[in-house]
Point group: C2
Chain length 345, copies 2
Amino acid sequence: MDLNDRKRKILQAIIDEYIGTAEPVGSRAISKKENLGLSSATIRNEMADLEEMGYLIQPHTSAGRIPSDAGYRFYVNSLMSNYKIGMEAVSQLRNLLETRVSQLEKLIKYAAAIASSLTDYATVAAAPKENNSEIRKIDLVPVSNHTVMLIVVTRNVRSRAINTDIDGESCEKLSKLLNARLSGLKADDIDFAKIQEIQRETENKLSINPKVLIDILHFLYDTVTADAETEIYVNNAKSILRYPEYKNVEKAEKILSFLEDKENLKKLVETDGKDGIEAKIGKENDFEILQDCSLVSVNYSLGDKASGKLAVIGPKRMNYAKVFASLDLISNEIDKILGYYMNDG
Amino acid sequence: MDLNDRKRKILQAIIDEYIGTAEPVGSRAISKKENLGLSSATIRNEMADLEEMGYLIQPHTSAGRIPSDAGYRFYVNSLMSNYKIGMEAVSQLRNLLETRVSQLEKLIKYAAAIASSLTDYATVAAAPKENNSEIRKIDLVPVSNHTVMLIVVTRNVRSRAINTDIDGESCEKLSKLLNARLSGLKADDIDFAKIQEIQRETENKLSINPKVLIDILHFLYDTVTADAETEIYVNNAKSILRYPEYKNVEKAEKILSFLEDKENLKKLVETDGKDGIEAKIGKENDFEILQDCSLVSVNYSLGDKASGKLAVIGPKRMNYAKVFASLDLISNEIDKILGYYMNDG
DNA sequence: TGTTAGCACTCAATTGGCGCGAGTGCTAAT
DNA sequence: ATTAGCACTCGCGCCAATTGAGTGCTAACA
């Protein structure tokens, strides 16, 4: 499967050209590039070879060639050149991310936005998923006549308004009791039996309407044990429409539908173990609808504490070099920041 | 500007037909509708009149007619029939909204999703904007070595991670002091002088590293006074692609760009005073890009406490009756729920 | 033996002519 | 006041002819 140097150069030239123009590339166009002084006839022979080897495809007899999935794969693995991101962009990015770190979810949201503006492709990102982190504090704060706010602090803050009647004093007592029982535990340590135990204990010690108590404990259980609802951020989906391969409106609509459906996207950004940047080209994608696209993604994670994924979706003829460079830069920045935040000492 | 009964019926029939088919409507098509037993020739005369009066437009000589903006406006004001939403849909909606009320922002998010699924047009919604509500509680909870979580409870919960070194005990003391000074106040009552006052006081009473203290107070000030970042929810933007008027991909891309740009959308859903459902048809829209669309919106609000807007965006030939009915239903449900929640007694 | 000029061939895309049909406005009859 | 009838308009789809980009193959060349 290895190619001699000339074939590699020709394949690279073809793919570079095709990435730029989206038009099938002819032998004449390549022979004009002076860096390899070969006639179009020679190129034609080589192209025929490359086609036979599976790296190129000829849409029809009198057209030029376009890369096959295998061609792109070879390009990504061994041909593409390095892309240098401008220093101004780099420092802009650093500033932007550093001023936005006050909430981790926001960090990823901005990182995804930056990835999409650097590359001008669509991006999908999942906020870091907390795995079973420790409960630091539980609080109940009345906010209006019939409403009390339940607040659970782990590494994040989750809150939930509960529509029920309870007076301020009872709130305070109940919070204290809940903190005594639950803070320091991890979500996995809490099961329904534990909640019922607390319920019985509370009924003895405090005089709270049992119905109200059950309500609150029920919500508490939900809030603590619920998998953090994975927030998904999509940027620049519309960029899909810019590529000639999606002038076909129905195809475009299908992809846009896909990019609006959080359920699919969750699967898409489910983190597998892999580290580093990974590309899925065309048919390599698990989702049929993406089989004319490429998806380049990077996992960011910190041990078993939090993890997530940031993915760029574009046409197969995307500017891989630029996308790889951008994701590399961004994921390094994220890891730096997460590293500092997540450090429990 | 008033039309006789026959003209009204004809105009209504034309617009109804056009809304369904998106094709220019000819006289023959109308004359076939049995409810007015008129020949196509008669219809033709009436159509010529309606065109002269500005309600209809003839794209070219040998085509039928399509409604003008004025035609749609007349239709919306006085012609369109009532639309009945099925009972199952209504009760589904009620269930969905009622189980989702735990956070107000979520309520609107779901309401917008429902509006979009009922009508199958794009929707834009802004979460209710709190106006200057009372601070109920402030808390500082350490969550990792270098990080403390600042939590401010008003009618909502705002939280923010602060990357600074402070021990648990100091946290607790500082929280107590902050609550003593600030809870019960409204955001507008807090200015920078007040914060500085607290800073001086704290420096005397507590032994906290001044740099850390300044950091925390600074973030607190930001968090309390910052306008709640208006969350904007967009649903079903892709539906734009379904309408023949947007088969032109560039036009579609422009609209989708618009619907991805939060800044524009904020302006779009800025609440003006008006109550009830409002339609902006074609050129009536302030944004040039929407001049081939209609936007039907409803404000929900509760006195001066919170307000927001939910808007449906579709082609000018949208099913106004259905959209009006859906928004009416949804806004009633929202008002009911908000009314209960916001009740301070 | 590898390279290249030349040529015949293929096929998508463009162009222009033609006819169809939906729809109109006008006129004259009812 | 309504309508049947007719001439006219004009967008659209169809078809054939033309164009041109690109190929594969062959024979000549270094």
